[in-house]
């Protein structure tokens, strides 16, 4: 009985934690691959939160968040694919898989 109540809470907390970890890495890490991974981790955090929300309902499991997560994963995969291709192109063009420290202002 207690397990039923607690476990969604854990998912919620883990979700938030993952989101924050991902955010931290996205800001701190300079390598583009790590940044892209960080975005994915943030996304996983949100998905986990949504799953926790789904399990919290009274009358069984709420299907809507699951639909959201599925769609979200599809979106995340496409975004990751674009990001990875772009990273390779940046590497090919500049020789570095990272962004220059300051943007070209002029």
């Amino acid at each position: 009985m207690t397990v039923d109540v607690i476990s969604p809470q854990i998912y919620l907390l883990c979700g938030v934690l993952l989101f924050v970890l991902g955010l931290h890495a996205l800001v701190v890490r300079r390598h583009l691959l790590l940044k892209i991974l960080a975005v994915n981790i943030m996304g996983s955090g949100v998905f986990m939160l949504l799953l926790g929300v789904a399990a919290r309902g009274e009358g069984g499991i709420d299907p809507v968040p699951h639909a959201l997560v599925i769609t979200g994963i599809v979106v995340a995969v496409s975004a990751t694919a674009v990001a990875l291709v772009l990273m390779l192109k940046v590497k090919a063009a500049t020789g570095l898989a990272r962004l220059p420290l300051s943007g070209p202002e002029d």
């Binding site: 949504l50 809507v64 968040p65 979106v75 772009l86 940046v90 962004l99 943007g103």
Partner: protein, 484 residues
Amino acid sequence: MPWMDVMADMALAPWLVILPLAGALLAGLWPAAARWWGLLTGLLTLPMALLLALQVHAHGPMVLYLGGWVPPLGIALVADGLASLMLLMTAGVGLAISLYALGYLTGETGGRWFWILWLWLWAAMNALYLSGDVFNLYVTLELVVLASVALVALAGGAAPLVAAMRYLLVSLLGSMAYLMGVALLYGSYGVLDLQGLGAQVALSAAPMLAAALMTVGLMAKSALFPLHVWLPPAHGSAPAPVSAALSALVVKVSFYLMLRLWLTVFPALPLPGLDMLMGALAMGAVLWGGLMALRASRLKQVVAYSTVAQVGYLFLLFPFLRAFPDGWKAVVFFAVAHGVAKAAVFLAAGTLQRAAGHDRLADLGAVMRGRLKTSFALGIAGASLVGLPFTGGFIAKWLLVQTALEAGLWIWVLMVLGGGLLAGAYVFRLLGPAFQPGPADPGQPLPAVMEWVPLALALLTIGLGFAGTPVLSLLTRTLTGGGG
């Protein structure tokens, strides 16, 4: 009008998504004719958007459940005054961009990809404007981002690629923050559609956090100072039609989303200090963007920094909304006026750049003298950016000043007027080279459409100068949430 009643029975809204999407598909399947699909899409979408706006104006907001499925499982398309105005602006500017690209992209290898991505972007933007729930807004927002990032990268070369990467990362960060907000809202209220949320959202921690996350995420996407650094390189180094689409349309997408949220979902949240914070950032944007535009040495950089500055005005939304419920209309009119004018300026800049082979401001004099139509487009649209009379920009400035004065917010009056002076300084600086002594030289031969389209858009900004009343009247047909 009887024909309008007949049209009212037709569901126009889905076609505004289907048409560009089909265009993108056909452009992909039939690359040799990609440009003609693009043109056809533009030609068909504009009248559709116009009809939809007329219908909404006549009959009020329209909701359509796709396949008859009701939310939360089905998808609803909502066309109200605000959405149909944005669709109309996108269709007008979109048609201009398509026409311009016909001339700009002749014989380029990137041409095929441009058409697919651009029509895809158009479909995504239209879908976003018609979305009625927060999750669909997320999905369409991601589609917009992916298409626009790819368009920036299209130019190839190190600078555009780095700019595209930076843009993508900032956008993804913004999207994640937004998605987190969606999860929090669903977790709290169990609904996703804007109206449903608006009816329930009340003052508590979860929606406050959601509002903060979503707002900050969208701020980054709209390039509000100080989260603007990605914008000038991305908008400044992309091909001209792409720059125009990004600065005129894509920036407005995240603004629209923010407006929707605060108009429908969050009006019950007071968020103390948000209006002042946003106002202060807006002021920073206007000052910093204006100063950088004064310093930049390349034409397109100046225009891109001008976008940074003008985005600042969009965020006057917050102080205005707090002051009184109708305060947002001035900002929306500004967004439309800026969209048309900025597209004209970027397209004109592209023409001059092509003709001269570069866009160093100091050396553009001969080409500006040689291409009068384009220089005029630059001048008229520039006047709209400054807010000089007979342009949409003047009406927008008038409305902003009027709204700020009505609310007794002096500081924003000063900001709008001062920002106009800065804009005057950089716009007249743009025009300066044309008046230096020297010969007139049209430069490289160019298709005529590249001169006529910027001029047509510039004349449209003059048209907008007389469209204040109908636009405001259309905006009264907007769905708002919470108390109203």
